[in-house]
Symmetry: none
Subunit: 203 residues, 2 copies
DNA sequence: GACTCCGTCACCCGAAAGACTGAAGTCTGA
DNA sequence: TCAGACTTCAGTCTTTCGGGTGACGGAGTC
């Protein structure tokens, strides 16, 4: 009986992850919690084989919850959920006992693979996975132009249209766009917009 | 002395709107508030010629704030800021005394034009502008495939990559993408991602 | 049975995007 | 004063995107 406990304060994300994890072969039961405190309270009762926990939550965050959980139950397997907004937190969580992490922008397949790995692995060294943490510690600092270009992208404007709005040439907009992509780690404007929302540059 | 009071709980959006409004000819002073309550408190003191207020805010939302403001000060000119997520709320706000609304995905020019119009107009009938509210009251219903394609887009995947993830041909992905754009009213994948976040399909 | 919606795939086409350079002006801060 | 960031623009190149259109099978509906 392999059970997984998913913890995220956002109901939508929680259910999405539940579905993804539920599809992993070998996982019979997936339960959900809405806070780190709830995980600490329920872990001794449910004894899940794996805890998937969001890094950022109200109350004690995922990092502190992971630390306390592993301190109280050294056999607990914790995998952090992150959306790249807090790589330092992930690093601390991993060093505090989490077995790995999954980026929330990962595909369903990647989630499944990571969960399966975490379940299968005898405690793999945290260092191995900690390397996957993004090197950029702080939220990227966007210049005003980059912010404006990002904003235009989110409104479905082409580079030429953004240029006309800002009284710039299309080439200049493309230059700002390229640097924007580098800073955000985006492959294209669609991902840039997604990361813009997650970093709070857009809303 | 024409002054405009901008109210939005998000500092970034607030500043962006401030800048846009500040560029409108005839506007000498733009002040900013962070909540509906703050607007109600400051309006009698500052007596701005126009209040730009976000529909959705913590505490009393823009609708209720607009209603109370106009009830207390019938000469108050309120224009709602919306991002299309709550057309009913806009309609109620307009019927409750708001003079119009501006979509947040509007261009700077559109913002300027609407502000100038709201300032210049003797009280135009609310009905005239209320028609601009999007006819689609409910969030668009996305099929599972469209949701999956949207998700892939938000992760920066190309259509071909999404196709490989979902075991589909690139052409099929493009078909789903095209229908997705139609449903969301998006011009391209970047705007589709933005609308996906605003409708809650992505997070 | 007719109709509609979804999912699948294919073709063509022009427009746009994004990567790669190089360069020059402004402005700030060490 | 000088380094460095920001901003501006330009060129070339390949890839991708998005629109238009058509098609076929299946599921559900009227």
């Amino acid at each position: 009986m392999t059970t997984v406990l998913v913890c995220d304060d956002a109901p939508l994300a929680r259910e999405a992850i539940r579905r993804a994890v539920g599809a992993v072969p070998g996982v019979e039961r997936v339960t959900a919690a809405g806070s780190g405190e709830e995980v600490l309270a329920r872990f001794p009762i449910e004894r899940p084989d794996l805890v998937l926990m969001d890094v950022r939550m109200p109350g004690i965050g995922g990092v502190e919850a992971s630390r306390r959980l592993v301190a109280a139950h050294p056999d607990a397997a914790v995998v952090m959920l992150t959306m790249g907004e807090d790589p330092d937190g992930v690093a601390r969580a991993v060093s505090a006992g989490a077995r790995g992490y999954i980026a929330k922008d990962a595909s369903r397949e990647e989630v499944a693979a990571t969960v399966a790995l975490a379940l299968a692995a005898g405690r793999e060294g945290p260092a191995a996975r900690a390397q996957r943490v993004r090197p950029t510690g702080a939220p990227p600092a966007l210049t005003e132009r980059e912010q404006q270009v990002l904003d235009g992208m989110s409104r479905g404007k082409s580079n030429a249209e953004i240029g006309r709005e800002l009284y710039l040439s299309e080439d200049t907009v493309k230059t700002h766009a390229r640097r924007l992509f580098r800073k955000l780690g985006a492959a294209d404007r669609a991902q840039a917009v997604a990361l813009g929302f997650r970093w709070g540059f857009l809303r």
